[in-house]
């Protein structure tokens, strides 16, 4: 049985082909998915998606969303997704530093919500470039 993964963002289809295995960051922790997985629906956190293809691991930064698994079809709906290899390391690092500074500066409930979200996104992008394996 082959496992099919499609990663959809509002703009485009980021990934739509066969994979061997994936590791998905869900709201309740990471889950690994192999062919013939039981059908589940899960919320996807801001985090990293790891894809095994030809015994190589690829990483992708996911900006939060939803995933549905069943019939050997994985559908991931996210606000934004970037392949680790497509992210500019310098730019990502700068964004992270900026986001860290913003969190410290943030005042009031609303600013804190915004700053923390931005920080998590920035951190994920940096992690996607240097995956901790």
């Amino acid at each position: 049985m082959t496992l099919n993964l499609s990663v959809l963002t509002p703009n485009r289809i980021v990934w739509d082909s066969e994979v061997e295995e994936i590791v998905l960051s869900t709201n309740s922790g990471q889950i690994g998915i192999l062919p013939n997985h039981a059908p589940i629906a899960t919320a996807v956190d801001i985090g990293i998606l790891r894809i095994r293809l030809n015994d190589q691991w690829l990483t992708m930064a996911l900006m939060g969303g939803f995933a549905r698994i069943g019939n050997n079809e994985i559908t991931v709906l996210v606000n934004d997704a970037e392949k680790g290899s497509d992210i500019d390391p310098q730019e990502a690092q700068q964004t992270l530093e900026l986001a860290e500074a913003n969190v410290k500066k943030a005042e009031g409930r609303r600013q804190k919500i915004e700053a923390n979200l931005a920080l998590r996104r920035a951190r994920t992008r940096v992690e996607a470039i240097n995956p901790i394996s």
Binding site: L8, T9, P10, N11, R12, I13, T26, N27, S28, I31, A38, P39, I40, A41, T42, A43, V44, M63, G64, G65, F66, R68, G70, N71, T75, L77, V78, N79, D80, G108, R109, R110, Q111, I113, E114, L117
Partner: protein
């Protein structure tokens, strides 16, 4: 005199060239805008399908998700989507008028409001009117992306969740066809399956022609042409398990829905703007052609009159010599 007329014809000719070029550019961009909408389709279709499934499974449950929470409305945030450029007929004006009317309504109801302005034209309008409270100015873009929608969604989300505002409305121009588009008000938050929101006293604060938010399949189609292409979806396994609490899953899905709604509004607004510019420039070109024709006629008549006058003078002079 004749020279003035000649200059005028020349300048009309040049203007016509410009309007013609603008029309062609707008036409090409409309196609790009349509492609963007088509690109967004797989996402929105899957999303709506999933939402629909989950909503069905949750029908009986009492869901409590922050984004669906209906509170008594004390303050409303209006997201006003305008274009970045002029020369597109009444496009920006109509939308701003709509926003003004909505502000008046809210004032009459004694409800506080704040504006989130998207697009340069709206920005400059609100900057000129400092008495209108504006929460944030955002620039529009040539081709709306999920990032642009995200920026708006983040702002709206934090405003709503921090309870600074109790309702968020989106004002944008809906694309009907290449020759027709209309400004509409669309309630973004709270996401309510029913729509109309009333406060404790029974005063409803929804605009009369509000487009209600409905969690149904037909609201999810994202086509500019408004054609109904429903891809055949494979029946999904009924023994679907929820990895988390259904509430958490909805929590993850609804922001996605919010984003795709905003993105659609941005895309429609852009398509309307381009269509408006196309027809404005088309009629400008027609007018220039007409004007050029009339001016040439006047010019030729005057020139002929001058020649006839000269010939008459010569003939009269020759006669006098005989």
């Amino acid at each position: 005199g004749l020279r003035d007329l000649r200059d005028r014809i020349e300048s009309v000719k040049n203007t016509q060239k410009i309007t013609e070029a603008m029309k062609l550019v707008a036409a090409a961009k409309v196609r790009r805008a349509q492609e963007a909408v088509v690109g967004a389709r797989p996402f929105s279709e899957t999303l709506v399908e999933v939402l629909y499934n989950i909503n069905e499974q949750l029908q009986t449950d009492d869901i409590d998700v922050p984004l669906t929470k209906v509170r008594p409305v004390k303050k409303v945030a209006l997201v006003v989507v305008t274009g970045d450029r002029g020369l597109c007929g009444g496009f920006n004006n109509y939308l701003i008028k709509k926003a003004e009317a909505r502000i008046r309504d809210l004032k009459a109801l004694g409800i506080d409001y704040t504006i989130i302005s998207v697009g340069k034209k709206g920005n400059s309008y609100f900057i000129r009117r400092p008495y209108i409270p504006v929460d944030k100015f955002l620039e529009g873009s040539n081709l709306p992306t999920a990032k642009d929608a995200q920026a708006i969604a983040d702002d709206v989300f934090s405003l709503f969740v921090s309870e600074e505002v109790d309702k968020v409305e989106l004002l944008y121009t809906k694309f009907v066809s290449l020759v027709k588009s209309e400004p509409v008000i669309h309630t973004l938050l709270p996401l309510s399956p029913k729509g109309e929101i009333c406060d404790i006293n029974g005063n409803c604060v929804d605009a009369a022609n509000d487009e209600f938010f409905r969690l149904t399949t037909k609201e999810g189609k994202l086509t500019v042409e408004r054609d109904i292409i429903r891809t055949k979806t494979t029946d999904f396994s009924p023994i679907l398990q929820f990895e988390q609490d259904p509430v958490q899953i909805l929590d993850a899905l609804l922001p996605l829905y919010l984003n795709s709604q905003i993105l659609r509004a941005l895309q429609e607004s852009l398509a309307s703007e381009l269509a408006a510019r196309m027809s404005a420039m088309s009629s400008a070109t027609d007018n220039a052609t007409e004007l050029k024709k009339n001016l040439s006629r006047v010019y030729n008549r005057q020139r002929q009159a001058k020649i006839t006058g000269e010939i008459l003078e010569i003939v009269a002079g020759a006669d006098a010599l005989v």
